[in-house]
């Protein structure tokens, strides 16, 4: 089967796209759905790998693992990424499941069946929400991930608009989220807010930025369009990779060599 080669996180993302009706509009929406679902799943299914490298970015929480999973699905031909033009010159990426992707999702491993069912019911709630609603929800539930957001004013503006009008659609949206679930999350926020030590640790973790952007930049510097695919055997290919470069007859001492280029 095709999906035997997929990483667990790519399989999870594939399931999220499938449960979104086979299409996700926008990378921000994809990231927010992945964030909310990962946090939910992590509570109920400790042994299922979820996206867990969240860091605060300009649109709130962002995960490099999501990018990598998305790239993997595109490379495997399970997902199509296309860019569409919006008004005011803006652009948005749209992700569509391919036939192969749909076929791959038909077979769910036994151990994941229960989790997939739960995922399906959670996704029904999120599918009803706009991207802006998902942004609001994620900012409310995970405020630490919103600290670098540059769109907080815009999100708040939408929030005020929504709350002040109290439109029927707003009430429907609230109705879509079971209230015990909201209470449970509020309690969690309070617990997190009280745990200063945890935040300190999280800050430290967040500073350990995943390196995807730096990897992309480095690839650009050496003339590659994108970084090569990660390969667990690549570390062995680095072994002795420079052996033919070393001038014959010259003594090789890496410490002396580096000192010399440092001007010591």
């Amino acid at each position: 089967m095709q999906d035997n080669n997929l990483t667990d996180r790519a399989r999870l993302l594939l399931a999220l796209v499938n449960l979104s009706g086979g299409q996700i509009n926008g990378l921000t929406r994809m990231q927010k759905i992945a964030l909310l679902i990962s946090k939910d799943l992590n509570e109920d299914y400790k042994d299922i790998p979820v996206f867990d490298d969240w860091i605060p970015n300009k649109f709130g929480g962002v995960s490099t693992q999501v990018y990598l999973a998305k790239d993997e699905l595109v490379e495997e031909g399970l997902l199509i990424e296309k860019e569409i033009s919006l008004e005011k010159g803006k652009k948005m990426k749209v992700y569509d499941l391919t036939e192969l992707g749909r076929h791959t999702m038909q077979v769910v491993p036994l151990k994941l069946q229960q989790a997939w069912q739960d995922l399906s019911s959670k996704m029904q709630n999120y599918n009803k929400a706009s991207t802006n609603d998902l942004l609001m929800l994620s900012y409310d539930l995970y405020p630490r991930l919103a600290i670098n957001s540059t769109i907080v004013p815009e999100v708040n503006k939408q929030r005020v608009k929504k709350f002040s009008s109290l439109s029927p659609s707003f009430e429907e949206d609230i109705g879509a989220m079971p209230s015990p679930q909201i209470d449970k999350r509020k309690e969690k926020i309070r617990m997190l807010a009280a745990d200063e030590q945890f935040f300190k640790r999280r800050d430290y973790e967040m500073q350990k930025l995943p390196d995807l952007e730096a990897r992309r930049k480095m690839a650009g510097i050496i003339g590659l369009k994108k970084p090569p695919k990660l390969d667990p055997y690549a570390i062995h290919r680095l072994d002795s990779i420079m052996q033919n470069e070393i001038p014959k007859g010259k003594r090789f001492d890496p410490v002396e060599l580096v000192r010399s280029v440092r001007g010591d």
Binding site: L209, P254, L257
Partner: protein, 208 residues
Amino acid sequence: MNQPSLVYIDANVFLSYMAGQDADPQQYPFAKAFFTGLPSGKQAGVFSLLSGLEILDVLRKWKGWEFETLSRMSTQEDHIKHVIEGARERYAEIITEMLAVPEIRFMQPLHLDITQLLHDALEILSDVKGSVRFYDSCKICGRQNNGQKFLSVHKCVGMQDVIHVLLAKAMKCDAFVTFDRGFLELLNETRIRPVRIEVLRPPKSSIR
């Protein structure tokens, strides 16, 4: 899930591993043990642009030593092209392989205050005194003096060394790993905390 600890890798450790056993029999086994231990997930290696520039510089230096090839070329332009482009091409090949290694991170400091970093480096350097050593032989000219010392050298951790460690700190690395024993001078330096200096089995030849 526990994050792996981040280890900033000094250029000499990269060079030893990439040069191989034959070129560096003394240190390579330790470099190899370090790199092949990374996939365990406990540690992730950090590659900085500064270390990358040093590796490129080493490649240029080596290209410049290719006397036979260079002497067959007639113009200075060809010489420079051979050195610069040859080194750049090889560097790109090496970095391409490195980019495929999941356990090596290419992260850069998020909010690096270069003025503050240089200020810290200056303060550290003003406190690090180093030592003056005497020798009975010279590695550069090859002179030997039968046990009689004739050469004195001031050995001290340098500006670029300090900048590397401060970069490691800016990138929130847990440790800085090197073969250069000169970094031991920074072991008790509070301004680089909490970065740990780890010298991989320091060979005597590396003592400054």
